[in-house]
């Protein structure tokens, strides 16, 4: 592939062995995909952040970059860690697991990454602009950056994200090219109104129908809650691998149906009405009818608005004995929740706010829950494989009701 003079120097080792190693990886990947050249990227986001997800090979890989003296050349944020970095013992994380996680933390600091430990880096300090090229992993962040912001990123792979961070480059293929960003399936939303829960259900539906293709959505009215788009995209990225969607009249590359499709005809058409909503919600639950043992929310990480809502619902109530109620977010939001009094309301009700991690990429399977409940479309998809539990999906209101009342809800 073609390399600029500067990129060739990186490959020749003029910027040090870490940068050379990173560039060798990127050139091999670029060649494998027929990329003609590299594209400079403004930021990277890495999932080389959790021991549960990256195994020993991932720990050794990130340490290898450190050993070669590599440093991030562009702002690079981290996905959640594999445990709450302060209160991990409370969540029964084994010590040998924690030791490996702290090796990752150390490497992250050595590489000069931004340790925000969140799946929502665009809220935690690194909002891209329209047209920016990025090298992001974390499927929910990728779909948000591509769709809502109009930035350009593929769903990068772990380790490649670090190579991009060190060089400030990634091979130009896939969604970095305008011609690959046009819609190919149409989904018409036929709903009178959309609740917060409906957006999540719709996201799951979108992923199931679109697969890895690019859906164009019509009939979806604008929501004031950015959280709805975040959760919707996360569900679509999980249930189907959606990396980019267009909402006609709302998202930056879809001023009109013609713009979104680039004049092409949709390969397939779907509609989403109350019927599809009910069927999808049913499909999102695997619950075998047992009692809910844990409620886990905050996938993607809860915003302060989400936490306010949960606190209002939990205020003056008490989570029933033996049930775990965990709210996942990142550190700065936990601090805000503390300042605003939400954290004490939540704790008084017997629930917990936990930071720097999430239910999927920390070892929650060790709790051996039989049935868990969530308001997240993404987690509803992954709970059986990642937590080895049956899952019940519902709104946050339903989650709170289930947690405070006896017996099985919904």
């Amino acid at each position: 592939m073609y390399l600029t003079e500067e990129e060739q120097k990186m490959l020749d080792g003029e910027n040090g062995p870490g940068c050379k190693f990173a560039m060798e990886i990127l050139v091999a990947v670029g060649d494998a995909f027929g990329a003609e050249k590299m594209v400079p990227v403004r930021s990277a986001h890495t999932i080389l952040s959790t021991y549960k997800g990256i195994l020993d090979a991932g720990v050794e890989a990130i340490e290898q970059f450190v050993a070669l003296g590599a440093k991030a050349a562009i702002p690079t944020t981290t996905d959640p860690a594999g445990m709450d970095l302060e209160r991990w013992t409370e969540f029964r994380v084994p010590e040998d697991y924690a030791r490996k996680q702290f090796r990752i933390v150390k490497a992250v600091h050595s590489l000069g990454l931004i340790p925000c430990w969140t799946c929502t880096p665009y809220l935690a300090g690194l909002l891209p602009q329209k047209g920016d090229h990025l090298a992001w992993t974390e499927s929910s962040a990728v779909v948000f950056a591509n769709s809502m912001v109009g930035a350009y990123t593929n769903r990068e792979t772990a380790v490649i994200d670090i190579a991009a961070a060190v060089t400030g480059r990634t091979p130009e293929h896939g969604l970095h090219l305008k011609r690959n960003r046009l819609g190919n399936v149409l989904i018409d939303v036929q709903m009178e109104k959309m609740s917060a829960e409906d957006y999540r259900i719709f996201g799951y539906f979108m992923g199931k129908k679109a697969g890895a293709r690019i859906p164009v959505i019509t009939g979806l009215r604008k929501t004031d809650r950015i959280e709805d788009y975040i959760a919707m995209g996360a569900a679509a990225a999980a249930s189907g691998g959606v990396a980019l969607y267009h909402i006609v009249g709302i998202t930056p590359e879809a001023g009109s149906l013609e713009e979104a499709f680039g004049g092409n005809e949709p390969e397939k058409r779907f509609s989403f009405s109350l019927t599809e909503r009910e069927q999808t919600k049913h499909d999102m639950c695997t619950g075998g009818g047992g009692d809910i043992e844990a409620v886990m929310v905050g996938c993607p990480h809860y915003t302060i608005t989400d936490i306010k809502k949960a606190a209002e619902l939990l205020e003056g109530k008490s989570v029933r004995k033996g049930l775990q109620f965990w709210i996942y977010t990142y550190k700065s939001i936990e601090l805000l929740a503390e300042r605003m009094g939400y954290k004490s309301i939540i704790e008084k009700a017997g629930a917990k706010i936990t930071s720097d991690t999430c239910m999927m990429i920390s070892p929650t399977e060790l709790w051996r829950f039989k049935t868990v409940m969530t308001d997240s479309g993404k987690f509803a998809y992954y709970a059986p494989s990642q937590v080895q539990a049956d899952v019940v999906f519902g709104s946050i209101e339903e989650c709170v009701t289930a947690a405070v009342e006896k017996g099985r809800p919904v």
């Binding site: 190693f21 060798e24 990886i25 091999a28 990947v29 494998a32 995909f33 999932i47 997800g53 990256i54 195994l55 020993d56 090979a57 991932g58 050794e60 890989a61 290898q64 992993t137 499927s139 593929n154 769903r155 990068e156 792979t157 772990a158 380790v159 490649i160 896939g174 494989s385």
Partner: protein, 143 residues
């Protein structure tokens, strides 16, 4: 031993190896599907469940599953339980990255060839010995 005319594909990595083929008719993803300590497929829902893939030529139509698959391949390379070669019709970025990283980090060369014609891939039956030559983009069957 007589060999038939080689099947043509596209090289994703390089290297040449001869080994026994383990063939899946359904899509295959590495994420959570193989025990890195043993190289045995541990995904109960997959047709290759219980099969050993370490040191074998793994043949499947296309990849599927999470982006975590690349790190799983890397972990197999670390543990010495990676397949000897991979042959398929469509290689997604996850699989290519996994094979590339296996060589960069653990000096484990995994020849990967894709773009094999679906008819051609049906000539590769389970248990036969296959030579995968990713330097030439060729797969040959020993008869």
């Amino acid at each position: 031993m007589e060999e038939t005319r080689p099947l043509k594909g596209r090289s994703i990595t390089h290297g040449k190896v001869t080994a026994e083929a383990v063939v899946s008719k359904s899509a295959f993803g590495f994420y959570g599907a193989v025990d890195p300590q043993t190289g045995v497929v541990c995904d109960k829902r997959h047709e290759l469940y219980g099969r050993q893939i370490a040191g074998k030529v793994l043949v499947f139509p296309e990849g599927r599953g999470s982006t975590g698959g690349a790190l799983y391949m890397l972990e197999l390379a670390r543990c010495g339980t990676a397949p000897a070669a991979i042959v398929n019709t469509v290689t997604e970025p996850i699989l290519a990255a996994g094979a590339i990283l296996a060589e960069k980090f653990y000096k484990t060369v995994i020849p990967v060839i894709d773009n094999l014609d679906p008819d051609a891939i049906s000539e590769l039956t389970d248990g036969i010995r296959v030579t995968v030559d990713a330097d030439r983009g060729e797969v040959s069957v020993e008869r």
